[in-house]
């Protein structure tokens, strides 16, 4: 039998749902903070002006820049095509889809039903078959009907229960595998949110952008080796491939940003660091989605393979009797009354 499903999933939030939501809100605040620093530090804004405010939405920023700079900020926004405080507004929504809809109660109920079916089938083994064999032996029943009954029904029934139990094990195994994937995807999303948060905090504290290579290495390590995907599976390979590709893309984007957006002389944070970090986060989430899809496809492929084997056996008159009891017409094969001369 397959292992027991993970318990304590905490309803539709799943085991990490609320942590994902909370961390995503922190990421939003920090991204806005860092972005505000990047845009406003040449007006004398410092870390203390943006950090720990708890509200870095657009209205709050406009209120805090004051009348002196509001016009200048609006003009800069107009010219460069952005709106401070609203650029990262979708972050909570992006993470929400990983935070909710992770109720595993249905998995657990289905697994309990199937496990019960497997246990019932165990009872159909020797405990029930032995008395039948014994009675038939005692009855001294022989002839064509007896042969048909023994060859097509009784003997193959030894395999019917175990074969049906194997299918049950496949089904419960798939439920387990998918439940593990749900939890792993949540863990992956939480890791990404946490690492993004840490990268933003580090950039704000150091007044310097983290090296993109370092950040991607951290996220890649968390995704690929954080017990989320088993090395050797499609999901694992896909994660690595995507991260390698995105790392190169990010480095290019980072270089381009530094080149095209020269900062004021007194700026301590170069380039569009907040966007770069959030871009890294988005790539990591894309990699996570791709890995999840690959794992799901693999789970489905295994089930399809078992189903195909099952169907092939059922289609064969000789083999189907080992998956379900054979349909026989013993009465047609029974000896006619003219064959009898005496019964002792």
């Amino acid at each position: 039998m397959a292992d027991t499903l993970i318990e304590g999933n905490g309803g539709s939030w799943g085991p990490h749902g609320q942590a994902i939501r909370d961390t995503a809100l922190e990421v939003l605040e920090l991204a806005n903070d860092l972005r505000a620093l990047e845009v406003l530090d040449h007006w004398g804004w410092g870390v203390d002006d943006v950090a720990d405010q708890g509200d870095t939405g657009r209205d709050a920023i406009l209120r805090r820049v004051g009348d002196t700079h509001r016009g200048l900020l609006l003009a800069q926004e107009q010219e460069e095509g952005f709106q401070l405080g609203s650029e990262f507004a979708r972050i909570p929504e992006v993470f929400a889809k990983y935070a909710v809809g992770c109720d595993l109660a249905g998995h657990q109920t289905a697994q309990a039903d199937l496990t019960a079916a497997g246990e019932i089938l165990t009872a159909s083994g020797d405990a029930l078959m032995d008395p039948i064999r014994h009675r038939l032996s005692e009855a001294l029943w022989a002839g064509s009907a007896a042969d048909v009954f023994r060859d097509e029904v009784l003997d193959p029934m030894n395999d019917v229960g175990p074969n049906q139990q194997r299918a049950i094990a496949e089904l419960t195994g798939a439920l387990n595998g998918h439940a593990n994937l749900v939890v792993a995807a949540q863990q992956g999303a939480l890791n990404i949110a946490t690492l993004t948060k840490q990268a933003l905090e580090a950039a704000i504290a150091a007044k310097a952008p983290p090296e993109p290579t370092t950040m991607f290495a951290v996220i890649g390590t968390a995704l690929a080796f954080g017990s989320i995907f088993v090395p050797g599976t499609q999901g694992f390979a896909l994660v690595l491939a995507l991260l390698n590709t995105s790392l190169a893309a990010s480095q290019l984007a980072y270089t381009a940003t530094q080149t095209t957006n020269p900062q004021p002389v007194d700026s301590t944070i170069g380039g569009d660091t907040a966007h770069m970090i959030i871009f890294s986060m988005q790539v990591a989430l894309i990699a996570l989605d791709a890995a999840v899809t690959a794992e799901e496809v693999e789970l489905a492929r295994k089930l399809d393979e078992t189903t195909a084997n099952f169907e092939a056996m059922l289609a064969s008159p000789k083999r189907s009797r080992y998956i379900r009891a054979a349909r026989v017409s013993i009465a047609d094969d029974a000896p006619s009354k003219n064959e009898f001369r005496h019964r002792g």
């Binding site: 199937l114 159909s124 029943w141 029904v153 049906q164 999840v292 026989v328 009898f340």
Partner: protein, 134 residues
């Protein structure tokens, strides 16, 4: 079982009570067990609408695993159900065999009980002679 009879012919010996017990009690019992298993497998479908949702979809998309999982589950349920029905038919078949054995016995017994008609020219059996009737 075929066995040499005293007269050099072949006779069939079957214990109908044993055979009847298999057909009336033991095989239906086995069929019931598989019926219970089929019902339990069917029960697992009650949460089909909420299981196997794609992670990262907020529970809105069903996973591609769901269709494959249901296909195998339904096939298994069908096999378990067929096993129940077919074992039930097999038990009926056995009872039909018992019936036919029983019918043959009665007919054979009647044949034994009917006096053998005289063959022309053959001597009459001893019971044909009654003292005082000559």
């Amino acid at each position: 079982m075929r066995k040499d009879g005293d007269g050099g012919g072949v006779e069939l010996r079957v214990d109908l009570e044993e055979l009847a017990e298999v057909g009336m009690v033991l095989l239906p019992g086995l069929a019931n067990v598989h019926g219970d298993a089929a019902r339990q497998i069917h029960l697992s479908s009650r949460n089909d609408h909420m299981i196997l949702r794609t992670p990262g979809s907020g529970g809105e998309r069903s996973s591609p695993v769901l269709a494959s999982w249901k296909a195998l589950r339904d096939l298994l349920q069908q096999a378990a159900g067929d096993t129940t029905v077919n074992l039930g038919d097999a038990s009926k078949g056995l009872l039909r065999v018992v019936e036919m054995y029983g019918g043959a016995d009665i007919e054979n017994q009647e044949l034994v009980d009917v006096p053998v008609p005289p063959v022309p020219g053959a001597p009459l059996p001893p019971e044909a002679y009654r003292p005082g009737e000559d």
